[in-house]
């Protein structure tokens, strides 16, 4: 188990529908929390990686304006993007910058402000994350994409809408406790089942919502980490994989191939298996996405993810607590900021500072962050 790059600081803003801040102000707020309590001056950050999906706000090439606003000039900065998993990709890039010896401290800042455009425009931009020649012109949206997985999962394994609803019930119970979540109402199974159809079999409460927000992760080398932070959280395993973007070339519809491959890489690098994970954050952009994550990450065998939620094994106290901060379903999904927020939750859990409940003695945590309809898979394993 290699401990060469650590997360020394993690921060995020409140996630909300329509914040009154500009993207640079959002980023600053996340950056400030990440820097809080660290033995680190802004000028000692050697590079910044700015992560978001383009075209949601008017700023082209946002890295420059964000680096300037965070006072990170004249250090190098640049922009990375893998849609919804942009900041997990940012973490991977930051890890490589440090591991290569090029830099010893790097800030990874993820942000998204989706309220500058209408929901319909946002849906259209999300759709354009898919193939713009053969798919998005027909009106494919994220829920339409994931609903196809839901149908296939139901057909293959007999998964029921009620079981998907239970995932939302669980996540909403933690979201109610999360002061930074967009949705803070605890929902019942009946609430979810009665909610309006979006793209059947997915209903309103099976879907996460667009949100505004930012996140920030500060990474440091082994040499610097101990000096900067009291409890560095080590990046033990990194996995990243890509599946075909075009839906017609995807083979698997009962799980995400990119997530399975990313998980395999991350487990191998960290030298651990699914049974060793104490707490996990998975990309629950839709309830079906969390169900598939159980199986893709090996927490359950294929087709048995529904049993995990039926038996409440993904609540705190269960075999593998998942999304105990409310998940994307409760927090909202400000695309570029989401991965950083997931990492922050696991960092807090491993430090014993859980905000919506604490998994006692958590030592190893996992983050699963997906870009597009199963295009970019990212799995990160963190440990004390």
């Amino acid at each position: 188990m290699e401990k060469s790059v650590a997360i020394v600081g993690a921060g995020q803003t409140v996630f909300s529908r329509g914040c009154g801040q500009s993207v640079r102000e959002l980023c600053f707020e996340a950056f400030r929390e990440a820097m809080d309590g660290l033995n680190l001056k802004t000028e000692d950050i050697e590079a910044s990686v700015i992560c978001s999906a383009p075209e949601y706000d008017k700023q082209r090439s946002p890295a420059g304006v964000i680096a300037e606003y965070l006072n990170l000039v004249p250090k190098p900065t640049f922009y990375v993007e893998t849609i919804c998993s942009s900041s997990s990709t940012g973490l991977r890039v930051g890890y490589a910058l440090i591991k290569s010896g090029l830099h010893s401290v790097v800030a990874v800042v993820g942000f998204q402000k989706m309220s500058e455009i209408s929901s319909r425009e946002a849906a259209e931009r999300m759709g354009r994350g898919g193939d713009i020649m053969w798919e998005s012109p027909f009106g494919v949206t994220m829920p339409a994409g994931y609903a196809m997985y839901a149908r296939a999962h139901m057909a293959a394994y007999g998964t029921k809408p009620e079981q998907l609803a239970r995932i939302r019930v669980k996540n909403s119970s933690y979201g109610a406790l999360n002061a930074r979540a967009t949705f803070r109402k605890a929902l019942t199974e009946e609430d979810v089942m009665k909610s309006a159809a979006v793209t059947l079999p997915l209903k309103t409460y099976d879907c996460c919502a667009n949100a505004d927000g930012a996140s920030c992760i500060i990474l440091a080398s082994k040499e610097e980490a101990a000096r900067i932070a009291k409890v560095p959280i080590w990046v033990l395993g990194l996995g990243a994989a890509t599946d075909s973007t075009t839906l017609s070339n995807k083979k698997l519809y009962t799980g995400l191939s990119c997530a399975r491959e990313a998980a395999r890489q991350a487990y191998e690098m960290a030298g651990v298996g699914p049974e060793d994970i104490d707490v996990a954050e998975v990309h629950d952009c839709f309830t079906i996405a969390e169900m598939m994550a159980y199986e893709d990450l090996g927490f359950a065998r294929s087709g048995e993810g529904s049993r995990l939620i039926d038996e409440k094994q993904t609540y705190i106290g269960g075999k593998i607590p998942v999304n105990i901060d409310g998940g994307l379903l409760s927090k909202g999904h400000p695309i570029g900021a989401t991965g950083g927020s997931q990492l922050r939750t696991i960092v807090k859990q491993l430090r014993g500072q859980g905000e919506t409940g604490q998994v006692e003695g958590a030592k190893i945590g996992l983050v699963h962050n997906i870009g597009g309809v199963g295009i970019y898979g990212n799995v990160t394993i963190l440990g004390r």
Partner: protein, 472 residues
């Protein structure tokens, strides 16, 4: 001798009961129903369907000419036949033309095709007539107009129906018309246009043809003739001297409606479905004059099989539940404005990808046989590079692999059903499912492709392929 080698037809799946029109407009109820094109259909897509049916057992690259007739071409300027030819995957060295301003267009095209073959300029010719005429709300035409198409392949060899003679009249008579500015048809006073026009011009042409061939009405096995509506059809049978019970072909006015330029050819296809060898058929069309043909079937007419034609398309139908849906399908009202402009279409991209967009070509790896869509230069399975042939996927049958039903999409008919189709012979295709009953969609249901108008944007009709449950 030149004649009809093959036939096909198409009737949209949706039917609107005339009693629904009567209910909406608080009028005395009328019987029957009319075929209504889906919101993604127009005269071009109807023509493609009829053409596919007709070319069921003809290699597409053998067709040498295409004549398309309609009164409602989707483009005022721009050849419709060129789009139909592409969707049918016909060859580039092709003569094509539109007949686009008269309800007599179907038989004008037939006569022209016949002459071309007789003259030797073309070995065969595909005649396709399709119409999708929108009637003004609460007009008499709204009850009468229906949508549909018919196709005839003409040639000199393997003739199923000989064309023994034809006779044509041209008349400047003004009975119904549309100016460039009109959306809906205009007509002159009813009794005048019937008594002075239709009931004089059509019988004159029929009489001349019959006399020239020394025939009397009893020599004709089936009389197929145009009529604006059912009442005038009965009257015309009497005028021409045919027994309505034994000799007159049902013009489909009750079950489909008046399909304009396609009307008489659809009735002819219906007649040919029941025809036996050695029968004489009179085909008479009207509009700005008249075209009449004397036809005689050969034994080959009984051998034309596996056509959906009229019978199967008539039987495979879905009810259009309300007038509201009808006006949405036919865009008869102005709707709430979109919050954003539709996407601009990139014609450069359309041109580059034309084989995939219009012709539904995928690629088949020559090394391992894997079929892919969209076309990939590198085989997804064996990674062979640039070693493939293009294959037409539009005729392939497949199964619905998975699907989703978007209730929030901006389309005229919710839910928008996104689907992934696995073709039985290989290949996976992602598209919209149309002509479907949302309550009956199931994984693994058999589906097929159909050419449709995906959306209108930037002043362009964007055609592409959708899937539908296998129609019949």
């Amino acid at each position: 001798m030149v004649g009809i080698v093959s036939y096909g037809a198409y009737i949209p799946i949706y039917r609107l009961k005339r009693e629904e029109l009567s209910r909406v407009w608080a009028e005395a109820p009328q019987s029957g129903e009319k075929a209504v094109a889906n919101f993604d259909e127009d005269s071009i897509t109807l023509a493609v369907e009829a053409g596919v049916d007709c070319l069921n057992d003809t290699p597409r690259d053998q067709v040498e000419a295409l004549y398309f007739a309609t009164t409602n071409p989707p483009y005022k300027e721009k050849l419709s036949a060129s789009i139909i030819a592409a969707a049918l995957d016909l060859r580039g060295e092709l003569f094509s033309a539109d007949f686009a301003t008269s309800i007599r267009g179907g038989t004008m095209a037939l006569r022209t095709a016949m002459d071309a073959i007789n003259a030797g300029s073309s070995k065969n010719a595909l005649v396709v007539a399709a119409d999708c005429r929108t009637a003004a709300p609460n007009s008499e035409s709204e009850h009468i107009f229906g949508d549909g198409g018919a196709a005839l392949l003409l040639g000199k060899d393997n003739v199923a129906v000989k064309i023994l003679d034809s006779l044509n009249l041209t008349s400047e008579f003004m009975d119904f018309w549309r100016t460039q500015a009109d959306r809906f048809n205009r007509t002159w006073e009813d009794r005048f246009i019937t008594e002075e026009g239709y009931q004089k011009i059509l019988p004159e042409a029929v009489k001349k043809l019959m006399q020239r061939n020394k025939l009397t009405p009893k020599d004709i096995h089936r009389a197929v003739f145009y009529a604006p509506d059912a009442r005038r059809h009965q009257a015309m049978a009497r005028i021409l001297g045919f027994d309505p019970n034994t000799q007159v072909q049902d013009p489909l006015l009750g079950a489909v409606g008046n399909t304009g330029a396609a009307s008489v050819l659809m009735a002819l296809v219906a007649a040919l479905e029941d025809a036996k060898a050695g029968q004489k058929i009179l085909l008479a069309n009207y509009g700005d004059g008249a075209d009449v043909f004397l036809l005689e079937t050969t034994e080959l007419v009984e051998k034309i099989k596996d056509r959906r034609a009229i019978k199967k398309h008539l039987a495979a139908k879905m009810a259009l539940p309300s007038y509201g849906k009808y006006i949405k399908f036919r865009a008869l009202m102005e709707w709430e404005a979109e919050r954003r402009d539709p996407d601009r279409s990139a014609l450069t991209v359309l041109w580059r990808e034309r084989n995939q967009v219009w012709r539904a070509h995928g690629n088949k790896c020559k090394a391992c046989g894997t079929i892919q869509f969209p076309i990939q230069r590198i085989c997804g399975k064996c990674h062979a590079k640039d070693n493939y042939e293009e294959v037409r996927l539009s005729g392939e049958k497949g199964k619905l692999f998975t699907f989703s039903m978007d209730e929030r999409a901006v389309v005229a008919d919710l839910p928008n059903v996104m689907s992934i189709v696995d073709f039985d012979n290989g290949g996976r295709f992602y598209c919209i499912l149309t002509d479907r009953d949302p309550a009956k969609i199931e994984i693994n249901m058999p589906v097929e492709l159909t050419f449709r108008n995906l959306h209108d944007g930037s002043g362009i009709h964007n055609y592409y392929w959708k899937a539908r449950p296998v129609r019949c």
